[in-house]
Point group: C2
Chain length 294, copies 2
């Protein structure tokens, strides 16, 4: 992990958080609902998806304010999916990043509605953004609804639930991750580059980069779940394994999982090269994800 | 209730249902998710909101195919809200319209995800519609996200939950209904007329019409809950009263509730007149709602 890249993330996240929190602050919603939405949005997420939008944009252009609303919408959708995932009927998690989950802090009804509200509001803020033209707005909404909908993220969530009660092979595991987490990561990279005017060919290779980044992130998550330090990742080590979930290490062993991690990292670098992108935070991000310890 | 209007609804609903079910059929989603979405979409809803979109459009123009996607998106959002409303953490209903609710037919996790999926897919189908131009799509998405979001329908839902544990006055009751059910009804009437090229002034009066139609629908619902026949409305008579919910009859008595019903119907007619709309199904609809017995 290189220091400059950590500084980059910190600076970007700081500015982004102001915009994101303003969008919620402006909302004239009942206080219980608004509090619940804000609680999960400000619960210490790493903002990896917004950073991806910004880093992808910055591979081409510098005025990243243009990406803030899209990045905010994306983070709202990611956050809603965590709120609903944590519900008793789903993963039944009481804690996330060391704090009570939304339904523990508030109640289940509020958590369901706060999730619904974040999902809906994500589309609203795109339509209201003054920095995007009408084509850009519609393109973003089309891509975001597909990425997060029943053929994207939600498909991944239901496949993931089904996978708990059966054995899945590596192909199926990749499909689940490509949809459950990959679809939003693809959206982040794609939209950042699209808004900055990337060519069709560049978008093609950046989609490939994003797919590998998504799987890289997941395999590293699985590896950390085995070897990670409980304090650093904020949930009990080995919790997925206890549920007998399909993971890379379970299917390939720890050594095999690490081999796949290195392969995804390498393919992400090749894709970036093919997109003609050289000095970019997108490149630093590969090592950042592969080497992260929390 | 006039026979011609019933025939009108039946014909429109028939064609609309084909379009709506096709939109779900085309979805390449995991079968459990798709089945669950289809189950609630085809569970015998009255399609009052889609009919409103069509009737509003037909006050100006005849090619109503143009409204089908917007009407479908609206019905998907209405349906998702029912699925989530029925969950154990919310109203905890086992039956709706005489059939098991989504989480009873499938399970809670699937019901939560099917609701999320219908909500997300509603926006996707608007972006993909070939019958609308880009301005119309963005206008529809902006209005729909606001109507169904944390300042609209979801605000109404949380206010409704809060109202269960306290006394609300008539003003507060009107606010709850205006958001919880009124916002989507407003969207229906507004978008139908907008797509047909209504003037700004006509849209203003049609918004007024829609607000009164929404409250009319609600007060009649409350009245039917007291005097209705259990078979016809498909849920136990008096169920809202048992929960000590705030209703028009509880606040005003049955006679007072009927007076408000007549007042809303009258104001809806005046608004329609001010919009310059004479012979329209929108007019028949007023009596249809006021006189319905299920």
């Amino acid at each position: 992990m290189t220091k400059p890249f950590e500084n980059y993330i910190e600076k970007r996240v700081q500015n982004f958080n102001i915009k994101l929190e303003n969008l919620l602050q402006n909302l004239e919603a009942p206080s219980q609902l608004k509090d619940s939405m804000k609680y999960s949005i400000t619960a210490g997420g790493k903002r990896i998806r917004p950073v991806l939008v910004m880093a992808s944009y910055e591979a081409f252009k510098t005025d990243i304010e243009k990406t803030y609303t899209i990045a905010s919408a994306l983070e709202m959708i990611h956050t809603y999916s965590l709120i609903h995932d944590d519900l008793p009927a789903m993963d039944d998690d009481d804690y996330r990043r060391g704090s009570p989950t939304n339904h523990k802090k508030f109640d289940e009804a509020t958590a369901i509605l706060a999730g619904d509200a974040l999902l809906t509001y994500a589309f609203e803020i795109i339509t209201d953004d003054m920095n995007l033209n009408i084509e850009e707005k519609l393109y973003a909404i089309s891509k975001l609804s597909k990425a997060s909908g029943p053929e994207g993220m939600i498909a991944g969530q239901i496949l993931d639930i089904e996978a708990e009660s059966k054995n899945v092979n590596l192909d199926e595991l990749v499909t689940i991750h490509s949809k459950k987490t990959g679809a939003l990561i693809n959206f982040a990279v794609h939209l950042g580059a699209y808004l900055a005017g990337a060519t069709r060919e560049q978008l093609y290779y950046l989609d490939e980069y994003a797919s590998n980044i998504g799987l890289l992130f997941q395999v590293q998550d699985d590896i950390l779940d085995i070897i990670g330090d409980e304090d650093k990742i904020g949930k009990p080590v080995g919790s997925d394994e206890e549920l007998d979930k399909s993971t890379y290490p379970n299917l390939l062993g720890l050594k095999g999982a690490k081999k796949y991690r290195d392969m995804y990292a390498e393919e992400a670098k090749v894709a970036l090269y093919n997109a003609g992108i050289k000095d970019s935070y997108l490149k630093d991000l590969i090592d950042y994800i592969a080497q992260r310890d929390h």
